[in-house]
Symmetry: C2
Subunit: 353 residues, 2 copies
Amino acid sequence: MSLTLVELAAKLNLSTSTISRALSRPEMVAASTRTLVAEAVERYGYRPNGIARSLRKGRTQTIGLIVSDIQNPFYAAVTRAAEREAARHNYSLVISNADENATNESRALNLLSEMQVAGIIHVSTGANLDILQTLSAKGIPIVDIDRASGLAEVDTVLVDNARGAELAARHLLNLGHRHIAIITGPQHLTTGYERLKGFRETLASSDVALADPYLKVGDFREASGYEAAMALLALREPPTALFVANNEMMAGALSALHELSIRVPTDISLISFDDVRWAKYVDPPLTIIAQPTEQIGTLAASLLFERFEGRLESVHHVLEPKFIRRQSCAPPHTLVTRRKQVKMPRSQTDTET
Amino acid sequence: MSLTLVELAAKLNLSTSTISRALSRPEMVAASTRTLVAEAVERYGYRPNGIARSLRKGRTQTIGLIVSDIQNPFYAAVTRAAEREAARHNYSLVISNADENATNESRALNLLSEMQVAGIIHVSTGANLDILQTLSAKGIPIVDIDRASGLAEVDTVLVDNARGAELAARHLLNLGHRHIAIITGPQHLTTGYERLKGFRETLASSDVALADPYLKVGDFREASGYEAAMALLALREPPTALFVANNEMMAGALSALHELSIRVPTDISLISFDDVRWAKYVDPPLTIIAQPTEQIGTLAASLLFERFEGRLESVHHVLEPKFIRRQSCAPPHTLVTRRKQVKMPRSQTDTET
DNA sequence: TTGTATGCGTTATCAA
DNA sequence: TTGATAACGCATACAA
């Protein structure tokens, strides 16, 4: 199969130690042998076996990343940044998709553990605290991103979700909305919980109550956004404004709106989290709360490297979300006007061949 | 640090072999000891060291994936499918971003090689054939997806790009367009080359020549799509229809159109490759040529597993693209009408806080 | 059914 | 500056 150190040593009449040294600590080796080895490596295409090296050294050059959905552009952006930072340090990134599923997450954690990854970047599903605890106890640094798992010893890179929701709520309130609905995420996830909390409290501070029918809890996936939006729009008194807590559910909500031919922002104002690229190309361009995806990924990886360097105390970053105003929010129509609206399901317009 | 087999064996007064067997081939071990071991594993949280196992077994449970951009939703979708298929077989996926850059690609290939990945799924940058050759010779199966690297011995999962371009061209021709432009990709990549070829030939078969000014070659990234579109729209006689060879460049082209306040499809018809989700939410929903992303990812991984099982001859799949009609294409306006258009740069409308 | 012994390919310790 | 040797943690061939 592949050329090994022993074989290469035989060819050169050198010991394995010399060659190993020539490759990893060239300064400890005579210049002549150094070039000799370099040439042979080039000629025979020798590549050290990283597995053997890892076993011997007791550590790998690999970090694990568990995301809830790599297809969600938010996580894709974070992933890319993390991969870059890892590559910069000559580390590889092993990626696992949890798909918002605790079983997948536990499988992924165990796999990463067996792979002896040097550290883990982790978007929590809210479960598997026991496994995380064990890994952490084994000395594998973990950094929670996006959602806090609740473990004390892990580093965290989070976004001020309550603040983001507040920005969204305030914008809608300022436009004059009073019938405001929210589609938030699961309440056992900090993102779902805090975005609701910040939103509700901001409304309350303006004496606007978040009525029960206006509160929908999805699962951060597209389908749940669709369902929730459908339900909201079927209300006898539909909201004049809607805040959606992530981009996936927003995509679902948009589907619902299209299907019902509801105009944005004429009939309803729309604001959501996550400045994914398509947010500025849709009709109309979406007003959103942006999260610093690049920074999350880069920072998360850096924290891991700091741990490798020996940092012991845990570190917690809370990054600022940013309000980006586009054209999906406008002052509300009066109820009378709204009631006259004709809402007619529109047939699917895609045509496939 | 972590509990090892030897330590566990000591605790149980059993030999390491027995425990090893109890875990990997339970049927070879007495039921009583089996449960004894199982309990101890549970209690002490023993996890086998995958690195040691890999070294001993001579193979890893890892496959490498090199994509040109994980943030491109097309590759994200492929990645997700590949990860699923891998997980189904209890394999992990190591992901590297080449960023359309040959140096990054070579770095990634070498890293994967050192990691002793069992196989590689590969989106070619068109370079590094020598490294690929070497890896392949070492017995690491490789499957090219999306773009053919040109190596004979690798498996391939490609899409019929010429056919996709033909579908696009035919649609525009049928609508009556004669001034048709294309933004294609690098000509050393099969995707860039074949999409241009299929497009040009289809036009030619209807006696429409693809004029030089109407042919732009980008690099499949957003910025190049923007530049190319800007150049096309600055022509004394701008095209009435535009085919863009991937979703990234289409995003760039859309930026340009927005900026110049050019209406789609009134002023120009638009069609592109890749049915990314946002394509149906933009204004207007984009008519596109869809590629079977799921299938590409799943199939690529499966081919690898077949190789692991011993398949020797290489296999080549060419999947069918699909035409999806939405609302970005319409019959052309007459030249006179078009010339009257007012084209006024629109200022940037995003507002950040 | 269980135990003993060996080796996977590398790095690190120690001696030369 | 170089070489001999041991060890990383596991799986397996072979012996008991």
